[in-house]
Amino acid sequence: MKSLIELKGVSKTYGAGVSAVHAFGPVSLDIAEGEFISFLGPSGCGKSTLMLMIAGLLEVSEGAIRLGGADVCGPQTDIGIMFQDNTLVPWRSVRGNVELQLEMRGISIESQRDHVTSLLKSVALEDFASRFPFELSGGMQQRAAFCQAMVHDPKIVLLDEPLGKLDAMTREHIRADLQRLWMKTRPTVVFVTHSIEEAVQLSSKVAVITPRPGRIETVINIDLPFPRDLAIKGSAEFTGHVRHIQEIFHGYGVI
């Protein structure tokens, strides 16, 4: 498989001179097409910063990022992004919010009507299409936000702790939804998280990121079959990966 996302010596420094703060990197990494890679690290390690730099929403201080062979300089418009706080707007219904992504891109919503319907159906929101975000639970809001981020069928999807604000049970449930969605079209996903188990369950690869200034300590292949259900999560291999990563963070004094 060829590399879709290439990071070459990427680092981020805020400010300049003596007051400069070295926030992240340098990091080099190749992400293959169809990969589900997690950036796993403690808060403040710069993993969200890296995601924003891949999206072209934040400039790199040094190094270069390439998507599909083209240098990233400026916001990338052919990707899907989900931020820590979802971007559902309160004045639109669930369907209207998904359509917002299309309208902003000048895509006719008439032609996509069925597509939006089936997308909402795939996350069990078809009966809530005309509801407003404030009428939904946190988990339903995040599922609607997934649809908003995916409706234009991006080849690359960047997810910044999309489940971070949910309770543990909802989180577990939506992880499964997310995995099912990913398996359908296999986009390349960059998933930012600080949950070890979440990273191991969802990813084909886990990039373990050290505390600030973040660097990639190691990239672990998670060679387990998808979908990863309860049986797989109970397997010795799964728990072995979790244990291995816990030891790495323990070594850094994070846990």
Binding site: A55, L57, I81, N86, W91
Partner: protein, 270 residues
């Protein structure tokens, strides 16, 4: 079935529920006017100082034509000043929010002027422009303009970082981003300014009329007070209040229609 009946209660049931919930306030309200009515005779208050509410109603109804024609004049000053303030302040607020030059020049100037009590300019405008409609409209405008413009600047400047990033990631142009995201996101804060200005508009009109006019409710209140007719002054105050309430009602209605999704407008769901 029990659910359905609680959702579709009749008008009478609703009225009864309101009375049951707020009977203490209703009792206080009635008690207040009863106390007023009775204390005039009990404490021998001279009628040129204060009249009982019943007399206010009787005397005012004899003077209704004048009250209505003056209410029209004061209402016109209030509404014109308010509308002109919105028409100028909203685009200006938008321009200041998006222009770094304006933000460094006009904005601090406005913040400075906001500290000045606008009503203090009223005598000057009357002396420059005379007793007519124009100086009153200008004074109402001055009172309304600053809350609207400052809230508009705040409104257009406070789009969340996430939504800004989302907009950029879609590649949408400035206009499309404005229409689909920035404008609807800014409306609730704009309405904070509209409401505050609406509450102050009649104050501006009344004070402008106190200072120099030969018609309007402010003039009426001043003249009747001078003639030892407090019952008519109270009638004038009542009409002035009514103008303020109608204006505020219209603003609130517009808010419900334009931003029904906002937390300040929507009712609790369950």
């Amino acid at each position: 079935m029990a659910m359905a009946s609680s959702n579709h209660e009749t008008l009478l049931e609703r009225l009864w529920r309101w009375v049951a919930q707020s009977w203490m306030f209703i009792a206080f309200f009635i008690g207040f006017f009863l106390f007023w009515e009775l204390s005039i005779s009990v404490f021998n208050v001279p009628l040129y100082i204060l009249t009982p509410p019943s007399m206010i109603v009787i005397k005012a109804s004899a003077d209704l034509p004048r009250l209505f024609s003056y209410a029209y004049i004061t209402g016109l000053e209030t509404v014109l000043g308010y509308i002109v303030a919105i028409v100028i302040a909203l685009p200006l607020g938008l321009a200041i929010a998006f222009s770094s030059i304006l933000r460094k020049t006009i904005y601090p100037f406005f913040v400075m002027i906001e500290m000045v009590p606008k009503i203090a300019f009223a005598p000057l405008f009357i002396s420059w422009l005379g007793f007519g409609l124009l100086p009153k409209v200008i004074i109402v405008f001055l009172v309304c303009f600053f809350p609207i413009v400052l809230n508009a600047i705040l409104a257009f400047n406070s789009l969340s970082e996430e939504l800004q990033r989302f907009s950029r990631s879609t590649g949408a142009g400035t206009w499309r981003t404005f229409v689909k995201i920035r404008l609807p996101a800014a409306l609730p804060q704009c309405f904070v300014g509209f409401k505050y200005a609406g509450l102050n508009a009649t104050v501006g009109a009344a004070i402008a009329e106190f200072i120099g006019s030969d018609e309007g409710l402010g003039f009426y209140i001043q003249i009747t007070t001078g003639n030892m007719r407090p019952e008519l002054a109270f009638a004038g105050i009542f009409f002035l209040t009514a103008i303020g309430l109608i204006l505020f009602g219209i603003i609130t209605l517009a808010e419900r229609l334009l931003i029904p999704w906002h937390i300040s407008v929507r009712r609790p769901q369950i």
